[in-house]
């Protein structure tokens, strides 16, 4: 096992689009172990995507089980994840291992249907909402070369929106 280096914005590689995993090789298995070890080395972090460590394949890990106040599916290894449907939207605060010392508000779908393969290549379908759904959307963005910075909602706008909603 080994800790992998995290790419940090403005590293251009974070904008690369990752390719689907085609082969569930031993190499992939080993990579996922290293990615998990890297992920676990950042306490408080709830997800990581392969491109964040410079491997441009569609693999993400999500685990919010240490925040039991949020409904969750435990530790997830998601290969070739795809959101097949989504509903609602809300604004929440996000940060990113690849964007140190900055957090901001981002609008995301509230609930999603997620299809993905696990580390063995078996198809799984999840219904998710809230915090876990937010984490998954954030990680899938990484696979598409997007950061939460690309989706920021400005403070003032967020305020006016709430005023509109309350009238």
């Amino acid at each position: 096992m080994a800790l992998l280096d995290i790419l940090v914005y403005p590293d251009e590689r974070l904008k690369k689009i990752s390719q689907p995993v085609k082969e569930f090789s031993d190499n992939l298995k080993q990579f996922i172990l290293n990615l998990e070890e890297t992920f676990r080395s950042f306490p408080g972090c709830v997800g990581i995507a392969a491109p964040q460590v410079g491997r441009f394949e569609r693999v993400v890990l999500v685990d919010i089980s240490h925040k039991p106040q949020h409904e969750n599916h435990g530790f997830l290894i998601l290969v070739n994840p795809k959101i097949s449907s989504s509903a609602g939207s809300n604004v929440g605060r996000e940060g990113c291992l690849s964007v140190p010392d900055y957090t901001g508000k981002v609008e995301r779908s509230v609930s999603i249907t997620l299809e993905a393969l696990n580390e063995k290549g078996e198809k799984k379908v999840f219904q998710m909402k809230g915090y876990e759904a937010r984490a998954v959307q954030h990680e899938i963005d990484h696979l598409d070369g997007k950061l939460f910075l690309d989706r920021l909602v400005s403070r003032r706008n967020a305020l006016s929106k709430r005023i509109e909603l309350s009238t």
Partner: protein
Amino acid sequence: MENWLMLTLVGKDRAGIVAKISQALFDLNGNLGETSMTRLGGNFTIMLMVCVPEKKSVVQKKLQTICDELELFFHLDEIEGELHQHIEPDVRISIHGADQAGIVARATGSLAEAGLNILNLESDVGGHPDSPVYVMHIEGVAGMGLVNLEKALQKFSRENDVVARMAPIDTMVG
């Protein structure tokens, strides 16, 4: 040693203030840090951190010319930079109701007593001019816990007949 200045600026709003001020600072090889620039009523306000190789007096002179022309008032202070030390808020509070004298003082007073450290506060007056509505939005750190803060907020809400809501901020890092 980096030389940081805080620029405070205010004047009647008009197009081009930000462009002209930031160009002037750029011409002095200034580097902007965190800033807040916003329209308050009919005024435009700027608070910005700028790191400049020049002395304060040089910056003062350069800005004076532009600000005279644009009818703006400004002030420069030497400060510590302290970038890359953001504090994460863990609570968001919204308060709204009929506008009343002293509402901000009472709200922030009760909240400070319950341990709130304010990181950002924005307030606005909306509604009809005859019956103005006050809206306040705060983000901060609940130094004595969320339960304490919630209690103080509900008490404040009852005593002042305003709607007050609070929600934890759980920043998702991934």
